[in-house]
Symmetry: C2
Subunit: 142 residues, 2 copies
C-alpha cells in the first residue's frame, strides 16, 4: 500500500482507546515500536511508547514516542523538523510490539543519517553502512 | 546486498566478543532484536537476546534469541524448522537495539504467518493483513 492510500487508514483510526486496550505494555507501561519507511522498507529506528504516545500518534498521524531518558512524550521531529507521518500501525502476534509504517520527513537518526541502524558488525568491528545526510548542527543548531 | 554476498559477512564475524562488548544490554541483560527479511524487506518479528544468544548467532549464523517466558536460549526454528539464517547484524546509534537481516526459512510467526506483524489497526479494530501459510499443526505437530 502506498503512502496516500495508507493515509486514509490513519484518518479512520479514530478509536485509539480500543486499540490501546488490546496492547500489552511492560511493567514500566511501555511497548516497543519499530519504525519502517513505507516507501523504501528501510527499518529506521526502535523507540518506546506509553499509552499517551500511542493515543497521540493515532489521533494526529504524527508519530509520538515516550522518551525514557527524559521521562516525557517525545514528539518525533518537534525540534529537528524530521517528523514521521504514520501510514499504518501494526501489532504483533503477542500484542506487545508495534510496527509503524511511516513517511520519514528527512532523516530519522539524531546523527543525521536516514536510519539509526548504521553500524554493521564485521570482523569484530562496527562498520558504518550509511553516510550523514544532514549534519546534526543543521538539525539542532540555532 | 543480496543474501549470498551477505553470507560472507557472517563468516567473517569470528570475533563476537568484540561486538558484544560494544552493546548495551538492559537491566535484565537483554537487548531487543528486530528481524527483517533481507530479500523482501519485510519486518518479521521482534525478540530479545542476551550475550550468549548474540554470541551463538554470530558464531553459527543461525539466529538464536533468549526466551523471556522460558528463561532459556531460543534457537529459532529448532522445533518447527523455520530457522533464520543471519545475513547481517546491525547495531543502532545507541548500541541498544539490533537489526538482524535474515533469510527466513519458511515462516517467522508461530501462527504460521510469514511475519508476526499481521494485525493492522483500523477503525479501532485489528484487521488481519496476511494469511496463514503453514498451519501451526504442521509446524509443531507430530
Amino acid at each position: 500500500m502506498g503512502f496516500k492510500a495508507a493515509l486514509k487508514t490513519v484518518s479512520k483510526m479514530e478509536d485509539s482507546e480500543k486499540i490501546i486496550e488490546k496492547l500489552k505494555f511492560n511493567d514500566d507501561g511501555l511497548i516497543p515500536a519499530v519504525a519502517q519507511d513505507i516507501t523504501s522498507g528501510e527499518v529506521l529506528m526502535l523507540a518506546w511508547m506509553n499509552k499517551d504516545a500511542v493515543k497521540e500518534t493515532l489521533k494526529t498521524g504524527n508519530v509520538c514516542y515516550w522518551s525514557r531518558s527524559k521521562g516525557e512524550l517525545w514528539r518525533k521531529g518537534e525540534k529537528s523538523g524530521q517528523t514521521q507521518s504514520l501510514a499504518e500501525l501494526i501489532v504483533d502476534c503477542d500484542n506487545d510490539t508495534l510496527l509503524l509504517k511511516v513517511k520519514q520527513n528527512g532523516v530519522a537518526c539524531h546523527t543525521g543519517r536516514k536510519s539509526c541502524f548504521f553500524s554493521t558488525a564485521k570482523n569484530g568491528e562496527l562498520v558504518e553502512n550509511q553516510k550523514v545526510i544532514t549534519p546534526p548542527e543543521e538539525l539542532y543548531g540555532e
